[in-house]
């Protein structure tokens, strides 16, 4: 199917889109946010179509596709916000008795992290991939993956673990 798409079959490429849509959108949601995720993936897929001839190894198609999506997500996330307000309260005593996680606005918490750390955390937490796999997907060394994850966990621990953060507190996104 990949070979057919490389030969110019739009139907074959469309089939590939169908197969890869959900996991790519999940990744884009984690990195670029829910509002833009689907548009980013759609644009990336159209861009991928025009670059199909540059794909040498058909087995590497998912990773190749993800790198195209990731680049767009990084660009979009950097462009979108330098300073993001964090108007939620991380006071975890919910009056409705929900668990703290239920009251957490996931997207706003993820926005605290730099985009690469979001990507590394996505592959670690959501997809359970190894450091070398993540490194290969993002084009960084496994040691860098570990460093990104360590920093991300420390940031999240600070943001989530402290009993109270004032409403409207801003965090810089780099």
């Amino acid at each position: 199917m990949i070979l057919q798409a490389q030969e110019g079959s739009v139907d074959a490429f469309s089939e590939l889109v169908e197969r890869n849509w959900v996991w790519l959108v999940r990744f884009a949601r984690s990195v670029a946010g829910g509002a833009d995720a689907e548009d980013i993936v759609q644009e990336s897929l159209v861009a991928a179509w025009s670059r199909m001839s540059s794909l040498r190894d058909p087995d590497a198609f998912p990773a190749w596709l993800l790198r195209i999506v990731a680049r767009r997500c990084f660009r979009n996330a950097r462009k979108r916000a330098r300073w993001v307000p964090l108007p939620m309260s991380t006071d975890y005593i919910d009056p409705a008795g929900c668990s703290p996680a239920e009251s957490v606005d996931v997207e706003r918490v993820l926005n605290i992290l730099p985009v690469r750390q979001r990507a590394v955390m996505h592959f670690t937490v959501i997809e359970g991939r190894s450091d070398s796999e993540i490194g290969a997907l993002l084009g960084i060394a496994a040691a860098s993956v570990r460093a990104h994850r360590r920093r991300a966990r420390a940031t999240l621990r600070t943001a989530l673990g402290e009993p109270r953060i004032e409403k409207g507190l801003s965090h810089e996104i780099t």
Binding site: V10, D11, F13, S14, E15, V17, E18, R19, W21, V22, V25, R26, R29, S30, G34, E38, V41, Q42, L45, V46, W49, S50, T90, Y92, S99, P100, A101, E102, V104, V106, E107, V109, L110, V125, I126, R153, L156, R157, T158, L160, G161, E162, P163
Partner: protein, 109 residues
Amino acid sequence: MKSPEGFESQQWFERAWKRWLDSPTHRSPEEAAAAVAQMIRQRRRRARSLWLYAAAAALLVAGIMISLSRQPDGAVPERSDRKVQEEEPLGQGQILLWLDGQTPLYMTY
């Protein structure tokens, strides 16, 4: 050392994160595939029409160049010919015919 409170919060957060990602996409994979295919076809059509415009423009330019280079000899006298004309005005009863760009034929009647 990790604070248990922070560690638990992270676990809660990770669960909430997974739940958030599990929510369905606005467009189904089938809809997304159809939309992408449509965008690709539109781009193809646009690219094809751009090529057609470019080819038509190139043909037009080539046609103009060819027609200029094939202008009939003697239609416009060259500078030296014009000089001849200027230096040798026709006399009474003389006719000047140009056999080609450089060959004048004077006839007297």
